[in-house]
């Protein structure tokens, strides 16, 4: 196991000394994170279950299980959580999980939604971190309370009325992040399917930007389109797709965080495909 303190300082992340901390966005690689941890210049957020965190976690990480974020579903409460975790407006945050990045994405998006501007996803899951024999610790971390402002970022959020209106507006596109067979079964009318399984690969929660760009380009989606992502229930899979699209260069992406679960509960229209017994192919 490699030590956090030993070794020379790492390349790019090393020149962050003066002024406000580094500006993180979308994905943070492991070396950058390790360097930030060494310099105590980052808040690492572990969104796995509390018990998993207790077993071991990335050094200096605090525990914030996704369930707690979902239970505290108002911007005010989320800001309260940030402050409790010792995150100020300027603290860079790196979020990780053990669920191919989907839970981390949902939490990072939530931070961004309440106005935090420097949050990123760790490029890999905790399992992969451990497979690489990178440092972990057992010690539960608590930091002094910090002050964080509330500045709701409405531009990255969509609710059901917004989605419904978007369907008829040119330049707006609805993306369903669920797996292909779920999508074929039923989806919001007009939605295009980019399964979450497409966006990660080979131990990285997100593929390289140029690959993601090519996938989108293949689909003939204009890079200046506004894209709204949704998935099955609470916006985790679609949270990951939200970041994939951002990484591919889309400026205007929104998350319909209540997703298809709410859409169905509201009795909104659905598109279904019943002409094939495709489920029988799935080798379950």
């Amino acid at each position: 196991m490699r030590s956090l303190t030993a070794g020379p300082p790492k390349k790019k992340a090393a020149k962050t000394s003066p002024g406000p901390a580094v500006q993180l966005s979308i994905v943070c690689d492991a070396d950058t994170l390790r360097s930030l941890v060494r310099k105590k210049a980052v808040r690492v957020v572990d969104v796995r279950k509390a018990d998993d965190y207790k077993q071991d976690h990335i050094p200096t990480a605090v525990s914030l299980p996704l369930a707690r974020v979902l239970e505290n579903d108002t911007p005010e409460k989320i800001v309260g959580i940030l402050e409790e975790l010792g995150v100020s407006d300027k603290t860079p945050v790196v979020v990780y999980d053990d669920t191919f990045g989907a839970l981390a994405a949902r939490v990072a998006w939530t931070f961004q939604y309440v106005g935090h501007t420097s949050a990123a996803l760790l490029e890999m899951t905790f399992k992969q971190w451990k497979e690489l024999r990178l440092e972990t610790e057992k010690q539960a971390r608590i930091f002094p309370r910090a002050k964080h402002s509330l500045n709701v970022n409405k531009n990255i959020y969509a609710d059901a009325p917004y989605v419904e209106a978007a369907k008829s507006q040119p330049g707006k596109l609805l993306v369903d992040s669920r797996e292909r067979l779920n999508f074929l079964t039923e989806h919001i009318p007009g939605a295009k399917n980019i399964p979450y399984t497409m966006v990660g690969s080979n131990g990285r929660i997100l593929r390289k930007a140029e690959e993601l760009k090519r996938f989108i380009e293949n689909r003939g989606i204009a890079s200046n389109a506004e894209v709204i992502t949704y998935c099955g229930s609470v916006g985790t899979l679609s949270g990951l797709t939200y970041y994939a699209l951002r990484l591919a260069g889309f400026q205007n992406v929104r998350l319909y965080s209540k997703s298809f679960k709410e859409w169905k509960a509201l009795g909104k229209p659905k598109e279904e495909f019943k002409d094939a017994t495709y489920w029988d192919l799935s080798a379950e």
Binding site: R2, D29, A30, D31, E131, L132, R133, L134, E179, R180, L181, L184, N193, P195, T197, M198, S201, N202, R214, F215, N218, R219, G220, F273, K274, D275, A276, T277, Y278, W279, D280, L281, S282, A283, E284
Partner: protein, 616 residues
Amino acid sequence: MKKSRVATVNPRQKGVSPPKPNPKWGREEETEVFAKKVKLFRQGKISEDDFRRFRLQHGAYGSRLHMDYSMVRIKVPGGEITPDQIEKIASLSEAFSIGSAHVSTRQNIQLHWVQLEDVSEIMRGLVETGLTTREACGNTIRNVMCSHFAGVCPNEEFDATPYSMAIARFFLRNPMCQNLPRKFKINFACCDQHGLVRVADIGLVPATKEENGAKVRGFKIYLGGGLGAASFIGHLLEDFTPEGRVLATCMATVRLFDRHGNRENMARNRMRYLVHEMGWEKFQKMALKERSIVEMTTSYSTAQLFDVKSQEDTRQLPKAPRMAKLPMLNEQVTKDSPANERWLHTNVVPQKQEGYFTVFITLGAGDITASQLRVLASAIRDYSAEGVARNTPQQNFAVRYVRGTELRDFYEKLASVGLANPGALTIASAVGCSGTTSCNLAITNSHRLAKEVQRKFLELGLDTDDSLRDATIKISGCPNSCGQHEIATIGFFGGATRVNNSMTPTYTMLFGGSAGEQGELAKAAMRVPAKRVIDTILKVIELYRQQRSASETLHHWVVNITKGRGTAGIKDLEGLKAALAEVIQLPAPEQDPDAYMDYGSDSRFSAKTARGECAA
């Protein structure tokens, strides 16, 4: 970061050969062209007909009643597939398909419900590991098949594999076969038992001949066979075709078909119809004459493109330890035997190479999940001395060159992901095409039915009854024979029939078909409602057990009946039909509405089909 990652070194390198080189069937530039054409098609700049032809030439079929999705057919020449390729297919199926892959009846591997816009990405991934989808569909020479026993079969004259690969390479992207009247299929056997040589446009069986005191290699070549709405058994061209004339014979046949094949009537334009309409003797004369012309006019450099030597596996495979005693292979098992013993008995056969065994992986109608594929790849690396596997026309995988001493470990590894089901080499391993799960032409869900047959038969332990072992069940979802129902002991093809005034999924049941060099087509007997198929087969087995003569297997009993040589109780097909009349009856629709629905469906049955794409 990359540098810190631990290199994945296989710790169990004991005596396993170095990996086979990347076969490079695929080409990167074709993926780019495909992506571009999709965009042009979506922009309306290419007509639907032109695009369809192009798409099929590159191995992407339209999916059932939903043309935005494709079935991507990956060619696996000779069925030979490397662990790297299997892992790549696993990742591609997760990223762009439905998280599982489907082994076809012609040694292809298919990915279903792929968005048309993602097909080029699948092609790109395949190229990395040397696979291609080029000419997997369309009016071209399709995947060249080779018996999965070739090279290990105790009865073969020599290994046909390098010949099949050389033929596949010669014709792939060859201008002479890019626009044939219809698709064209070439199958190689290892011996007279294994291989689909009589039901292909060209079927080749290895043979040798003494000439001037030396043993000469060659083939027995069959022409004009094929399965479909109307099926024909291929004809033997000549007693012996020396290996030096194999290429010219194939080229001549393709040229004849290209020139004389029917380009008007799509329903009757496979070469077998040409042979049938012209008459075999005339076609045979033309083929032999055309071969002379080919031999006179083919340039040396063209002929050199058929390079068998370069396709030979020159690696020295290690010797396996001698087995003092065969593990269970020849002993009796029952359904209560330990799972490992039952598996050994029904899935493992010895090779001609002493100490080595070929192990079959039982799949359900050819389906395998991405995570199973990964374990399979790892198992091949660990336990197959040749370091590759082959997929089989029975929709399973064959892993060869497994040491007898390691069968137990191999079994444990497969069992950990549900890949160690028994029955691969028995009646329980039912074949089923994709049916209404993805095919435009399908009327019934043959795919699910084949899985249900397998599940039921394994539950009943029918795989352990050696008298049933050489019998086969094969099911197609329409008359077009992708499920190869006509070479089954008991075959079925799907249709729709009004029963008790209610539209019902039904299957036409056929008896007495077989593959191999003496292969014969099955004879259609009667229609059976989909939900009565399993009980009807079980009834056939019950009748067989009551009436068989001492050593008669189920297959022979059925064949004898189809030839009118049955026993007193059931003399012929009419007798068998009468004995089954009761079991095929359905209760009234009000009593049991489910009996009138198809497998995998909970709504009323209706036969929906769209244009087939077998012919571009």
